[in-house]
Amino acid sequence: MNWFTKTFSSTVGRKIVMSITGLFLCSFLVVHLIGNLQLFKDDGGEAFNIYSHFMATNPIIRTMEIVLVLGFLFHIYDAIVLTRKNKAARPIGYADSRPQENSTWSSRNMGLLGTVILVFLIIHLWNFFVPARFGGLDGVVIENVEYDNLYLKVVQSFDIWWYVAIYVISMVALAYHLIHGFQSAFQSLGLDHKKYTPFIQKFGYAFSVIVCAGFAVIPLYFFFLK
């Protein structure tokens, strides 16, 4: 192994990869949420369908999509490697253990929370991304141009109560993942100082709650108000 692979296969190095990919995924969440806000426009889905057509065809977005997939893959790969190593580091557990006295629940359950997010991600992609990208949606004509009617798919999906429930539960899991993860990522990079760490912690908390609440509101809105 050369110095580069050695660096990024140490536990300290793998956490650097997880933190950078994790923060990158956070930036993706912001873009994704802002785009989704168009679902609230009362135009029968026109703006949203035009937007999703743009996202599916624009070359810059298509390139970023590859980066995004790589971000997920590296994040998940190192999550698995580290979680396995961490389990192996304590083969025999304690008969009596009170971790609630010294750490938060979310910080100790990032693997579990991540797994919930991963399962959600598969369901979510299968339902929206795959038909939007590879065909299978009804068409809709907006100003004489034919678009895929992803909006209709949204309306139909969020009419099903258990589908809405999966979304809301997953967003709660994501919120807890980020409540620990956001500030943790800065620590993994060694970025810690009494000048700015309190800000990062507060910002991270607000970010996690606001972004995840924003996503969770969409299925609830369609279920109850549409």
Partner: protein, 260 residues
């Protein structure tokens, strides 16, 4: 005030203690009653009482580590009621007093649990992994010869204070015991920070962090998930800042050192 109370009544307790004959034997929790424990006793004195009872009845006494019994050597350990060094913060097991328990309590006593700290016997674990990490870089090379004058090298007070705080680590291993990943990073970071902060330690700072982290990995400790459990349970209050300093040292060493 938590001072001694001459009127405090002796306590009867039930202890559940991990017993294990040797490294390779399977162990189990064994229940022992102890009677007449004074609240003024330290936890280890209470263990001494139990051991005297065991000796009198011809049983093998319980092996546990201890040395100074003053909270400075780091020899004592014990995972007590689910927490390293017991329920009090900032306290080693030898400095933990029985007044923090109640008459009739059941107390579970286990060894540190980590693949890198194999159980030797009963509550004694082999912590030589820490020594090997220390040998990998936790030192400063000096020339032999005349003794240098004290205070010859100026060190700013804030830096000296930070280095001293890091230097108070007694190598007890409670950080490893507390961490869900059995990570040794708080211990390693205390050593790395202490020496990287001081002028004498700066000479070897790059190889130090690289070699100590490499040895930490070889010993089989887990990764850091930033849960903060280590610092919360550390008896001398080593802070999480040290871990972040280790990371900065690590990143800068990896980016600039001659190690390939």
């Amino acid at each position: 005030m938590a001072g001694s109370n001459p009127n405090a009544k002796p306590m009867d307790l039930t202890l559940k203690v991990w017993r294990q004959k040797n490294k390779d034997a399977a162990g189990q929790l064994v229940t022992y009653p102890v009677k007449g424990i004074s609240p003024d006793m330290s936890f280890l004195e209470m263990m001494d009482v139990l051991n005297e009872n065991l000796l009198r009845s011809g049983e093998d006494p319980i092996a546990f580590d201890h040395d100074c019994r003053e909270g400075i050597c780091g020899a004592c350990s014990l995972h007590i009621n689910g927490r390293p060094h017991g329920p009090e913060r900032g306290t080693t097991t030898c400095q933990l007093h029985m007044r923090h328990f109640k008459d009739g309590d059941t107390i579970t006593i286990e060894p540190w649990r980590a693949a890198a700290f194999p159980v030797h016997k009963d509550l004694v674990v082999d912590r030589s992994a820490f020594d090997r990490i220390q040998q990998a870089g936790g030192y400063v090379s000096v020339n032999t010869g005349g003794v240098p004058d004290a205070n010859e090298i100026p060190i700013p007070k804030t830096i000296a204070d930070k280095a001293f705080d890091a230097a108070t680590c007694i190598q007890c291993g409670a950080c490893v015991a507390a961490c869900k990943n059995a990570s040794a990073i708080l211990f390693v970071s205390a050593k790395v920070s202490q020496l990287a902060l001081l002028p004498q330690g700066k000479v070897e700072r790059q190889t130090r962090v690289e070699n100590m982290v490499a040895q930490m990995e070889i010993e089989g400790f887990g990764a850091c998930s930033n849960t903060g459990a280590c610092a919360a349970e550390c008896p001398v209050g080593i802070s999480l800042e040290n871990i972040n300093m280790l990371r900065r040292e690590y990143i800068s060493a990896k980016a600039t050192s001659e190690n390939f």
